[in-house]
Amino acid sequence: MEKNLTHIALFAALVAVLGLLPKIDLMSGVPITAQSLGIMLCGTVLGSWRGALAVLLFLALTAAGLPLLAGGRGGLGVFASPSAGYLAGFPAAAFVAGLVVERWQAPLATAAFTGAALGGIVVLYAFGIPGMALALGKSLPEASLLALPFLAGDLIKCVLCALITRTVAQMRPGALLSRA
């Protein structure tokens, strides 16, 4: 009980910290924020329910007025902005990423990559693109065009998520609650 609670709370804090860190330069020099990587890790490390709850807790504090989103954004305004769909998709993304790791007994890195891609890209875009379409008055294909530039960075994050999840499992076998 206590372990579930503290892991959910600490991962909510982790997602915030990853968004507040200076942008990480990848090998190609493309700067990315690690926040959505944090969402994927919530799922692959904590599992479906705990991961989704951690993300919900993070969103609740953002809505309450803490500037926790990447770039120091926060408050109720971000939930009315064109990125609101992505925020709504965050808990679902973590849930799906966790579900794949829990249910699919493939090698951990494979399962974590697949989960991160399904949750952090397929599910997240399925929320984010309609959100942008609604707020910007565009059709779904037009809004998808706006989401396209982020696809490469998100794929790299899925790879990082898989590598990090595997390393964590090696170093703290008991901490991987998604496979506990």
Binding site: K3, A9, L136, G137
Partner: protein, 198 residues
Amino acid sequence: MLALTSPLETWAHRLPAGLKMAALCLWTPLLFALHTPAVLTLATLATAALPLSCGLDFALASARLLRPLWPFVLIVALWHLWLADPSGIAIILRLITAVAAANFVTMTTRLSDMIAVITTIARPLAAIGLSPGLLALAIAMVIRFIPVMLFKAEVIAQAFRARSPRRPGWRILVPILLAALDDADAVAEALRARGGAG
């Protein structure tokens, strides 16, 4: 960690948080139902009157909070200029007004009042085992641990710079994550030692 609440006390700070949130929940869908530019302009002016009624400094701070919207405004403006389609004006007005109205509620409500509203909304969740006490404890832990983890991340980044001429990239993410997991275990033990949570 500073909340986005404005330190300038205004008349709107004294309104109950629940009332402001309820008004926002009615106002935002209404904005999305409006399509005529003239009516939307009225709605924008009405929303702009709120921060302006709180003084110039407050209005400027509220305008600064709208800055992250400019890429979207630019995209919509270019898109509709290219198509020579005037409906872009309505879309931009709605975009700015919806975010500005929500920001006004955030700027005039203290974090503690906002959290009180959230715990009230979450009260039915007690039926599935998420008691208000647990939620309050979790919220307090997140707020406390964000600065702790930021400090640890900075220490890890400095240690990396001491060892390597390269910039600390994604390599420091694993130690940051491990630190978070270890902290979670330590806090869980501390809670158990004090009689457990919930």
